[in-house]
């Protein structure tokens, strides 16, 4: 919308008023630190604009880099200490619990217990979950596929049938390490959920059979010729959103595994593409519900504006502003179901009601913790690279997968031990 003269004049008048009155009172703007950028930051700004409109508090939002830790440990300049921060790793919330002002009991009670436990220290929640993601989904082109598979074996079978009928079953954005860790976590949850929890808590060993079984399942699936668009070597150069456009825009593949935020990506780059989704097929048992999420925390000493913003984010008013664009789920029971368009309302029910498991790679510490080029993601990328024609060596697929699995398990165990 082009800005006409009147809007410009209005904006100037408003900003002059704001500076004359010291931003609507003696209070300074509320400072918020987030890890989002681009599209997500834009959505969050829409949320904040609504807060400023309805509550009368101006807000400045800053995108912070990887240095969340320094920010929370209050080792930064006064001018950069935020009132409210939104953090993607619950581990950091627990680590800096003493610096964070807890929400009221009533606010805390509006979240399912499984979510509360992740940020609860000594009986008190230290923040509120603002944004959540459902990571156990596979999206597909519905004109090619009509009956989704029920379990892992069925999925492999279906993929081979697709391949034999001339389609490439999968697109894989393996250039992003987290795409591969999500695959690994979903499969491991079906193989042995106890080992999954043990690894997250640092109790279980990476040499456990369940890890080996998981990697073997993945390797057997990925190594089959014609299974992945462009083969494993091209998948390693393809990022997540590229993989989505491979399927729905270029139609070079049929399925892509991806979280609920895959939906907006499909709509952005291939509007009108017919698509469906099915739960990530479990190796055994029921379908896993792997989740991720961002916690809003209020830093001590809590400012009035900061408290107001945190409370507003915890109310049901904030989430629907973002949720109506899709790719935004909320565990917050205050947010009404009709705040979410289909199919997100249904996914939202699942993250509230099912036995959820929080993303493993976001809970690992030490040398296995995330980031580009390191951690679990990088080891899985090397695992996939070991399956490429150039590196797999001679012999049967089974033998090649066996070698790749041994190598990956060795590295995982070694890095975890250091």
């Amino acid at each position: 919308m082009p800005a006409d003269r009147r809007t410009v004049l209005k904006a100037i008048a408003l900003s002059a008023m704001a500076s004359a009155t010291g931003c609507g009172g003696s209070e300074r703007p509320v400072r918020v630190a987030v890890v989002w950028s681009g599209e997500e930051l834009l959505r969050f700004r829409e949320v904040l604009a609504e807060f400023t409109d309805s509550e009368g508090w101006p807000v400045t939002v800053r995108s912070m880099g990887d240095d969340v830790d320094a920010l929370l440990s209050s080792q930064v300049a006064r001018s950069t200490v935020p009132d409210v921060a939104i953090i993607p790793r619950p581990g950091l919330v627990r680590q800096h619990a003493s610096r964070l002002e807890p929400p009221s009991d009533w606010q805390a009670s509006q979240f399912p217990l499984a979510w509360r436990e992740l940020i609860n220290v000594a009986g008190t929640d230290r923040g509120i979950w603002f944004k959540s993601a459902h990571k156990s989904l596979v999206w597909y082109r519905s004109e090619v596929l009509d009956s989704p598979p029920a379990d892992w074996a069925g999925w492999v079978q279906l993929s081979m049938a697709l391949r034999d009928s001339g389609h490439t079953p999968l697109a894989l954005g393996a250039a992003d390490g987290w795409v591969l860790t999500d695959w690994f976590e979903n499969v491991l949850l079906g193989v042995d959920a106890d080992v999954y929890r043990g690894l997250a808590a640092g109790r279980a060993s990476w040499r456990d059979e369940a890890v080996e079984e998981t990697l073997t399942a993945l390797g057997d699936f990925w190594i089959k010729p014609g299974m992945i668009a462009g083969g494993p070597e091209r998948a390693l150069l393809t990022q997540f959103e590229d993989a989505v456009t491979e399927v729905f825009h270029h139609r070079r593949a049929v399925m892509v595994a991806g979280a609920d935020f895959t939906g907006p990506v499909i709509e952005r780059f291939s509007p009108g593409a017919r698509h469906g989704r099915f739960p990530f097929p479990p190796v055994s048992g029921g379908a896993p519900v792997l989740v991720g999420g961002d916690v809003a925390v209020l830093l001590r000493p809590a400012s009035d504006g900061g408290k107001k913003l945190r409370d507003w984010l915890a109310s049901g008013a904030a989430a629907p502003i973002w949720a109506r664009h899709g790719g935004f789920l909320s565990a917050n029971l205050n947010v009404p179901r009709d705040g979410f368009p289909e199919p997100y309302a249904e996914l939202n029910d699942q993250i509230r009601n099912s036995a959820i498991e929080f993303d493993l790679s976001d809970r690992l510490g030490g040398r296995l913790s995330g980031g580009e080029g390191r951690g679990l993601g990088a080891i899985l990328q090397e695992f996939l690279a070991d399956l490429t024609p150039g590196r797999r060596g001679s012999g049967s697929d089974r033998a090649a997968v066996g070698r790749a699995v041994d190598h990956a398990v060795d590295r995982l165990a070694r890095e975890a031990a250091q």
Partner: protein, 600 residues
């Protein structure tokens, strides 16, 4: 120069026959014992530069160095052994070594050829120079992502893949972004970014030798074939040494280029020491991470000291060639060769920027799904790049930071350089300062980052805009002082003395010297401004938690490279306009300033 007081004017070197001859009398007083006193203003002039560089670079460097030798309370080499014992670390060190070995050689040879080409390009000289200099204005991060865009393996999107597919080559596109090809992409990107800068350092007039040398060479009857080996190269040795050092430092500091150009799964293959340090510093522990930071710093210090030594044996050029003659080659085939290679250079320099521009002019969706040669033009990507507001914020704070840092740098470096040049300091003091600044000029950020960020956190200054600006000033000071000192030293002594005699205030003489050397000041200013504007690694490691650097905002926008090409290209272009305009408008004087600095 001492005046000889015998009344005969023919001994005076100043020349000219004076009508009113002044006959200075011989000073017959006994010489004063002891050293000459260093004037107070000299120390005052040196103070800001020495204080900043000392506290923000030298002390942290020393802390890192000491820390690298401490193992569990006592001294030991275990940190170095553990660093060298890890396979992945060795791979990163090996990659850095390859950068250090190949990049300077390629850039300096290419730069010499380019300088020759510029000299013989006649009327096309300005165009060729501007095209070659343009990439210098582009940040390493944007360079990296531009080359990633060029070499995108998808023939629907990657320019090179599409070209090859059209020419009947591989239909599936050219895959150079994989582990085996990434070195080529990074190499191309680096040479593209640094060839123009090498040309400037070599001096566009480098192939123009001092006329006396040419006469002497001819008088001795040196034949054409041996001209290059026995006259040209020895005379150019110091210029080449400085150019080598410049590229060497850039090659050893490669960081954001790899981060931008290599896909996530190839990051480990392309990793260099600086990146490895950044990824694993917390896991390595204080001692080992210090050792890993010291290794490249030590190698670079040795290179810097060797250059200082080479510069000590400088060919005494009487006056820098301010506008070297430019002429056309004599024979027609040679003229054709010059014209064609000149055209190729212009195309190769500008094509990546053109691809970036065309990509930015497509809508985000079209740019994500097809190349720039397909339909779908508009300004939508620019709107999207600015929509979230962070780019506007970052542009503002980056502009302020770069301007303030440049002004502060000149305020600190000019007096210090003048004090070193004309401050009556003892030779040993000048030498010590020179060596100290030379080492600090090449020190990688990683070698000082740990102690610095601990200090900043302790003082609760991490993330304060003033802290980052001051750090940039400190990083700029050593190089600026060295260059300016060389330039100031070249001002004839009689002029400095004349300015001093008129006014006891040392500022007057300083101003007189500065007003003669303004191209060098401009060169230093532009260099600092572009460095701060395009900075990535200082802001990333020491800028605190907020991302208000343009390069970091672009990095945020480019997290999903393939699908954000439109937005990323638009953002990248918006950030490179200011440095590009600055470099292109001041280029001529900047080049002259550098040559003046080098030639003295």
């Amino acid at each position: 120069m001492t005046a000889v007081g015998n009344g005969r004017g023919d001994h005076r070197r100043d020349g000219g026959v004076a009508l009113l001859e002044i006959a200075p009398r011989e000073d017959t007083r006994l010489p004063v014992a002891g050293r000459p006193r260093v004037p107070g203003w000299t120390l005052l002039f040196l103070l800001p530069a020495v204080l900043l560089a000392g506290s923000l670079l030298a002390v942290p460097l020393a802390v890192t160095f000491v820390r690298s030798w401490i193992v569990e309370g006592g001294p030991g080499v275990a940190n170095y052994l553990s660093v060298l014992g890890d396979g992945q670390t060795r791979h990163a060190i090996w990659n850095t070594l390859q950068w250090i070995l190949f990049a300077p050689a390629v850039c300096v040879c290419g730069g010499l050829l380019l300088a020759l080409l510029v000299r013989y390009s006649g009327p096309w000289r300005s165009l060729l120079l501007a095209a070659a200099a343009a990439p210098f204005a582009v940040s390493a991060f944007v360079t990296g992502l531009t080359f990633r865009l060029l070499f995108d393996p998808d023939p629907d999107r990657g320019t090179v893949s599409a070209l090859v597919a059209t020419l009947g080559g591989s239909e599936g596109g050219v895959v150079l972004l994989d582990p085996s090809g990434i070195a080529w992409v990074l190499g191309f990107a680096f040479v593209w970014g640094w060839l123009g800068a090498t040309l400037v350092v070599l001096g566009t007039g480098a192939p123009t030798l001092p006329p006396e040398l040419r006469r002497v060479g001819r008088a001795y009857g040196i034949r054409r074939q041996r001209w290059l080996g026995s006259v040209v190269l020895p005379a150019l040795r110091p210029v080449i040494a400085v150019a080598l050092l410049t590229v060497l430092v850039a090659a050893a500091r490669v960081f954001d280029l790899v981060l931008a150009a290599a896909p996530g799964s190839v990051q480990n293959d392309a990793e260099v020491v600086g990146l490895h340090w950044w990824r694993w510093q917390d896991d390595l522990g204080a001692g080992a991470s210090a050792a890993l930071a010291v290794l490249p710093a030590a190698a670079l210090s040795v290179a810097a000291l060797a250059t200082v030594w080479l510069l000590g044996r400088w060919w005494p050029a009487p006056e820098p060639p301010t506008s070297p003659e430019s002429d056309l080659p004599r024979t027609r085939p040679l003229r054709l060769v010059v014209r064609i290679s000149g055209a190729l250079i212009v195309v190769a320099s500008l094509a990546p920027l053109l691809v970036l521009l065309l990509t930015s002019l497509r809508s985000p969706r079209d740019a994500a799904t097809g190349g720039w040669w397909q339909a779908g033009w508009g300004l939508e990507s620019y709107r999207a790049a600015f929509a979230s507001g962070e780019l506007t914020d970052a542009l503002g704070s980056t502009a302020i930071r770069a301007t303030v840092a440049t002004a502060l740098l000149l305020l600190c470096a000019v007096p210090a350089a003048y004090a070193m040049a004309w401050g009556a300091l003892p030779r040993a003091a000048v030498r010590t300062l020179g060596i100290g600044f030379a080492v600090l000029a090449v020190v990688p950020v990683q070698a000082v980052a740990d102690p610095l960020s601990a200090a900043l956190r302790g003082a609760r200054l991490a993330g304060a805009p003033t802290a980052l600006t001051l750090l940039h000033v400190a990083f700029g000071i050593p190089f600026a002082v060295l260059l300016l000192r060389a330039v100031f030293r070249g001002v004839p002594q009689r002029e400095v003395m004349r300015a001093r005699h008129g006014d006891p205030n040392p500022g007057t003489a300083l101003l007189a010297v500065v007003s003669r050397c303004w191209p060098a000041l401009l060169a230093v200013g532009v260099f600092e401004f572009v460095q701060v504007w395009n900075d990535f690694v200082v802001g990333l490691l020491l800028g605190g938690p907020e991302n208000n650097l343009v390069t970091l905002v672009i990095q945020g926008q480019a997290r999903q490279f393939g699908t954000s090409w439109g937005v990323t290209a638009a953002g990248a272009l918006a950030t490179l306009i200011v440095p590009l305009v600055l470099v292109l408008t001041t280029g001529r004087w900047v080049a002259r300033g550098f040559i003046a600095g080098m030639a003295r």
